[in-house]
Amino acid sequence: MRLVLAAFGLALSLAGAQAQTLTMAVGAPVTSLDPHFHQLSPNNAAAGMIFGKLVEDDANGVLRPGLALSWSAVAPDTWEFRLRPGVRFHNGNAFTADDVAFTFARIPQVPNSPSSFAGFVRPIIRIEVVDPLTIRFITNGPYPLLPMDLSNLYILDRETHANATTEQFNSGAMAIGTGPFRLVRHANGDRIELERNDGYHGEAPAFARVVYRMITNDSARMAALLAGDVDVIDQVPTADLARLRSDARVSLSEIMGLRIIFLGLDHGRTDASPFITDNEGRPIARNPLKDVRVRRALSMAIDRNAITSRVMEGSATPAGQYLPPGTFAYVPDLAAQPHDPEGARRLLAEAGFPQGFRITLHGPNDRYPNDSRIIQAIGQMWTRVGIRTTVEAQTWSTFIGRAARAEFSSFLVGWGNNPDGSHPLRNLIACPSPERGWGNSNRGRYCNEALDQGLMAAMRELDNGARAAQLIALQRLALEDLAIIPLHNQTNIWASRRGFTVTPRVDELSMAQSVRPAAGR
């Protein structure tokens, strides 16, 4: 036994010696190294290698101590965070509570930001630096989500980053954080080169050097992996999955992700909906989608297993709710709607549409894996139960603007969740309301005041048990009413060459600290 262990250890150290440099290729370009400039997954992944956060989220989306060791609500409207002592920035400056105060003041001030992080600090009305390692946030009423919100915010140094501009971050001069890697070079849109930060407070990264390349073309990224030019890639095209699973040179790391793919429906119009007509092509005076029986029929007509197994090649799981298992306020006993074309026809007849009607289903064709093929499949399934469906796929840049203006009757779109039941409810389901800041991605204009009232209570509930129960009930309500039709949760997939192993993340972020030399060989 000891011999086996020794051999094992030797193999490990050999692998470590060979693999001092990690080259990884990602499919989405990082556009800025300013961690507060653009709230965008690829940018967050890059920031996550260089900078640190008070609260970190692990591969499963569970909150863990980061630059803060612990946190608690010391009063209904006051969160106290105790900070990690002895942390230094890459340039040697010490990290203290004052840097947190500075960072949170900078976040809403970044000029020209196309999507800032200001929303995460808005609930904070005052910050108290109690001592260098203790900080208090006074919120506008009880706010249970603060720790989760803070897991989005990268901390900067007051001394270093006062007056730092986005350009200075991009050039590398100001890309100085507390994260596991320090920046060596940044070639915009091409590559980021990093080296290990030996002073990192957490688990040391396995590789001394990292080349983080951006190869947006799927086939090129795949070829770079097969040619051995890169060790790890993300966003593996589903068409290649079957071949890769049988290829001994490559291993796949997969996890069910937080992204839900769903259909949005027009709830906003009680009279005619723009893309619905009767079978003769005449407009229908009332919007059939306002009837929950019609919405349920649409959901029952969809064979989710066929989509996930054939169109998605097994890289998705049929969804019966908005979040995957293991998240906060997951509804425990709610499976995906089974395929039931007979039931769908019956419900349509009950709702007064025994002959069905015509509808156009819209969707993007360059945003989610196989997006246009999914809506084609659904179009056929709907047509089979009597709803003659025309499918229209278009490029994301055109599609999303029209969807936001609620121009469609039915459309496919995706949503990258935070692992908390309130997140999809607030953004996708709640009535669009500038005052509450909710319903911003509610492109079907569903509105249920009872649900919003319940959500408001849950958003003030600091007791996790009570909050989970409230959110589960609210999700049930929205799912029963088919505010949106959940289709599937995507699987996040990384492919690596032999000798490397990736810890897959639910949030799709590709970071070098998730990669380690494979044990054994």
Binding site: G119, T216, F399, N440
Partner: protein, 324 residues
């Protein structure tokens, strides 16, 4: 000559203005940049702020006037996505694209001219027929597919060359170039070949047609009758006369390659301007799209001018005159 140049410049100015207006309207018609750029869980306050920050709250005509005002001072705007001056972003990536375009042009002349000459001088040989058949392939195979095949064969199967990206660079005139290093050359070879296939075929066919036509001309017959060596007849008398169409086409092709080598750049993950423009179009990064297309227009104007001037060198009968 001076008057001619002045006139050309004035025309160019007009084209630039028309171009910027078209692109402005075009991007506006495609979609709303804010919907693409903003995080989906941002609230309305944040959305309003972003719209103001990017100057999209003004009516379109005012946005255009703001743009023109700044452009006259040499500022073509800042990228929405990178928050850097658009022109700087483009210039950063220009060397990569330029060396790829010139590399492929170099290959197309180096390979296309001799093959075309041979096929024109010995039209009935089997080899000539093979060359012409091959050139049809060069025209008809899609760049995208050929690029992937090149990668699969030379990078994945044989492992001779790297699959993607730009290699090590060395500085020349303060600009990083990859053709100066061995590693850089090994990276540029496949994309340059991929980009040059079409042009090689074009040069072969143009050269062959020119040679066949010229060989029947009286002055060639006379030169041969005078007893000049076949070498001198081919490379002085024939060659000079077939160059006009070749120079025209290669010049225009060069412009096209610099501006729109999008497919090759994305297949080979080549960090050039083509990749920048396609990414920018995807996220409706208007300042970059406008600046890029205006620069491309300017480049075509300059290339056309250079081609016109080259004519006068190649053919003394051509004069550049103000009357156009």
């Amino acid at each position: 000559m001076a008057l001619y140049l002045l006139r050309r410049l004035m025309q160019s100015g007009f084209v630039l203005v028309a171009m910027s207006l078209l692109v402005f309207l075009g991007v506006y018609a495609v979609g709303d940049p804010i919907e693409i750029l903003i995080s989906p869980d941002a609230d309305q306050i944040e959305k309003e702020r972003a719209i103001r920050a990017l100057g999209l709250d003004l009516p379109l005509w005012q946005q255009y006037l703001v743009f023109v005002g700044k452009a006259l001072q040499g500022d073509l705007g800042r990228s929405f996505v990178f928050n850097e001056p658009a022109i700087q972003l483009i210039l950063q990536r220009m060397p990569a694209t330029l060396e790829l375009a010139f590399g492929s042009m170099f290959l197309s002349i180096l390979i296309g001219l001799p093959l075309g000459l041979y096929a024109g001088l010995r039209p009935n040989r089997a080899l000539s027929k093979g060359i012409m058949a091959g050139s049809i392939l060069g025209f008809s195979l899609p760049t995208f597919w050929v690029g992937l095949m090149l990668i699969m064969v030379f990078a994945v199967q044989l492992g001779w060359l790297p699959s993607t990206g730009r290699g090590d660079t060395a500085l020349l005139f303060g600009i990083p170039w990859s053709f100066l290093t061995l590693d850089g050359l090994s990276h540029i070879l496949l994309p340059a070949i991929n980009l040059s296939l079409f042009k090689i075929s074009l040069v072969i066919r143009l050269t062959r047609a020119g040679v066949r036509e010229t060989m029947l001309m009286d002055y060639v017959k006379f030169a041969r009758a005078k007893g000049l060596s076949p070498f001198r007849v081919t490379f002085v008398h024939v060659f000079k006369n077939i160059m006009i169409p070749v120079v025209t086409v290669v010049g225009l092709e060069l412009g096209g390659t610099i501006a729109f080598s999008v497919v090759t750049e994305s297949v080979f993950a080549w960090p050039g301007m083509g990749k920048l423009i396609i990414d920018s179009i995807n996220v409706l990064d208007r300042p970059v799209i406008v600046a890029y297309l205006m620069m491309i227009v300017l480049m075509f104007i300059i290339i056309n001018l250079a081609v016109d001037i080259l004519y006068t060198v190649l053919d003394p009968r051509v004069r550049l005159e103000a009357k156009a």
